[in-house]
């Protein structure tokens, strides 16, 4: 007995020793609060930024470099014809409520996401699934109606995480997943707290708890960072202060890339004349917007594709800054007195970028009426209601050129040729063929001037200099804390 006690005391001492030296809690700043915490039922990026890889896991997952890695599926076999995926699940995986994660849960999750009445924001990810069969508790077979080269990629999205039938209904307020952290508390309007989950199947994270604090105001975010109220702000909303933070030895400024194509979204139903859209495109000086709104952070784009992707085509020349050409196009088309509405959501890129674009459009004779809107209002009237002419928004989902194949999507671009190409792309697995298709698609939407393509949003993060392991780039919307630790 006494020996036992001695051993326990020693063990305790050993365990607690590093705790004194090292901090194991972290506070992450986020500009936007998620509307709910269910990644399978909401489109907001902020949901994934809290739960992805931390609380919820899917069959596969994105790595920091954007690669698709194994997660709950330890391995998989793909049939010759590319339509049957057999996933071997990891053994000993439990949900945070203690129930076991097995093939039934995978079937439930996928069937739930692709069901008729599913509220999944990315139903297209599951559209190709014809059938999900449970072979045995640790093997699940997914049959696709057509081969889909992107299937493993699709399964890595936050929208494709695995949930349990017991807890799926309450996901919005109490997300129960298989991740290394479990949900602890959500104080609405302030923060979400997660704590390490003891029963996690994989490597335990170095952190024992994490708090996501929501600070929408750029000034307050800067103040919170300076005061040490937040330890890291992965998407820092005030690019103008980065130089000052960078010069401060207490902080690291991490600049990387995101999947955020920032565009001057144009309602193609209202601005249906391609000549007008072309005139708008040539009136825009991207470098001025990047310098003026983002203080130099951002890469100009000429189509809706991420520049760090190997299939990216630099089509910026297609819509090069040329106000004289814009004026000429408008004059040739006989268009005068053009007045458009410009709705600006809260992010810096939109509010500041919008003022710059308005000035640039005015130069060529296009008047804009700016309205600043909050996100809820933007989702309601612009995104759902489609009641807008122009708006500025960053599309942060990875590989989202497919939205141009959806005529009912908020910018309402309807081009059958593009839709056919996209349908072909979805069933093409050959990388070379996919590259060709993607190139063609990028060219079409650039030639049609569907939207004004502005720049690729940079990921400008600020973190305490003692924190390591934060993602440098944003291949998906996430604040993956599994590899994050304090050096002292």
């Amino acid at each position: 007995m006494f020996n036992h006690l001695k051993i326990s005391v020693c063990a305790l001492a050993l365990l607690s020793a590093p705790a004194f030296a090292q901090q194991t809690s972290i506070t992450i700043g986020m500009a936007l609060e998620p509307p709910n915490l269910d990644p399978t039922g909401g489109a907001a990026a902020a949901i994934d930024e809290v739960v992805y890889a931390n609380v919820m896991e899917g069959l596969t997952r994105f790595g920091p470099d954007g690669s698709v890695n194994a997660a709950l599926a330890a391995s998989w076999d793909i049939s010759e014809d590319g339509t049957v995926y057999t996933f071997s699940l990891r053994d000993g995986v439990t949900f945070h409520d203690g129930t076991t994660m097995d093939a039934e849960d995978v079937k439930f999750s996928l069937d739930r996401a692709r069901a008729e009445d599913s509220t999944n924001a990315q139903k297209a990810l599951f559209a190709g699934i014809a059938d999900v069969t449970v072979v045995d508790p640790l093997t699940v077979q997914v049959t696709l109606s057509e081969p889909n080269g992107n299937f493993l990629f699709n399964m890595a999205w936050g929208d494709a995480v695995i949930v349990a039938p017991e807890s799926a209904a309450d996901m919005a307020t109490n997300p129960v997943g298989t991740g290394p952290f479990q949900f602890s508390e959500w104080v609405q309007g302030d923060r979400v707290e997660i704590v390490a989950y003891d029963g996690y199947w994989g490597d335990k994270p170095a952190l024992s708890e994490a708090t996501f604090k929501f600070i929408s105001d750029a000034t307050a975010a800067f103040a919170a960072m300076m005061a040490g109220d937040v330890d890291a702000f992965p998407n820092f909303p005030a690019p103008e202060t980065l130089a000052q933070l960078d010069a401060d030895p207490r902080f690291n400024v991490i600049v990387g890339s995101t999947e955020g194509e920032t565009i001057l979204s144009t309602n193609n139903a209202n601005v249906s004349d391609v000549r007008v859209r072309k005139a708008i495109a040539h009136a825009i000086n991207r470098q001025d917007i990047i310098d003026g709104a983002m203080f130099g952070y951002g890469t100009p784009i000429g189509t809706h594709f991420a520049p760090h992707n190997p299939d990216y085509m630099d089509l910026t020349g297609n819509s090069a800054y040329d106000p004289d050409l814009s004026r000429q196009i408008l004059a040739d088309a006989g268009i005068t007195d053009l007045k458009l509405r410009l709705a600006l959501p809260p992010p810096t890129y939109a509010r500041r970028g919008g003022e710059i674009i308005a000035a640039q459009l005015r130069e060529v004779g296009i008047e804009t009426a700016i309205t600043n809107v909050e996100w809820a209002q933007w989702i309601e009237s612009v995104f759902r209601g489609k009641d807008f002419d122009l708006t500025i928004v960053s599309h942060t989902e990875p590989m989202d050129i497919g939205i141009y194949a959806r005529p009912d999507y908020y910018f309402q671009y309807d081009r059958p040729e593009f839709q056919d190409l996209n349908a072909t792309l979805e069933v093409t697995a050959d990388p070379a063929q996919r590259s060709t298709l993607l190139a063609e698609m990028q060219q079409i939407i650039a030639d049609d001037y569907v939207n004004g393509y502005l720049f690729q949003l940079a990921k400008t993060g600020v973190a305490n200099a003692n924190i390591v392991g934060l993602w440098e780039n944003s291949p998906t919307q996430a604040n993956d804390l599994t590899g994050v630790s304090w050096t002292q």
Partner: protein
Amino acid sequence: MKRNLIIGGALSTLFTLAALLSFLWTPYDVTALNIGAKFGTPNGQNLLGTDHFGRDILSMLMVGARISIAVALAAVSFGILLGVPLGLLAAARRGSVVDEIIMRSNDLVFAFPSLVIAILITAVFGPSLWNAILAIGIFNTPVFARVTRGAALSLWTLDYIMAARVAGKGAFRISFEHILPNILNLLIVQATIQFAVGIIIEAGLSYVGLGAQPPIPSWGRMLADSQTMISFAPHLALFPGAAIVLMVLGLNLLGDGLRDALDPKIRRART
């Protein structure tokens, strides 16, 4: 104190002249951006420097003065046009149901803080210059109604009003021919004070994004925009901030000076 009147008058005139001048001429076009010249400190070309879009701050302040003054002026006029007749009516029908309805409705508006009313109105009807005017104007109405009623009530008991009534003049004519001219000095002083309040509320609304919308420059939004840049470009916040302070100070001093100059009781007490 003549000094109040002179300093207040000088400051108010300065801003008014700057605003009027901006209709004809500004050093630079305020809607033209010049990103390459951003954060310019005050120099020979840009007397007050340039902002984060490279716009000339002096030009923006001049046009901003125009907006501030226009909004405050319109809102004060709104308050006077609505509040003074209501106050006169309430005083003429003192003690009646009409008086009660007018004054209790005023209390209702008064019960809400002015800025909250303004935010409410602009949030419901959408942010624009006109809604800002409406919002501030509505808050001004009970102020003028109360001042008018209070002053008019004391006049109604005076002998010369009685004489007018005996002569057969109706309440309407008495209100406008005898009461109004005699409370004009009070109203002018009150208008000056409300003007200053209007400027502050307009700046406040613009600061939270509910006032004049871009690209129209406004003092409040200039402050809001420059918040995060204050550490490395303080002049962006300093000049619009100083403009608001000086304008409001000027109007308050002017109001004080006018009261001293116009109020016979105070004048008599001093001499």
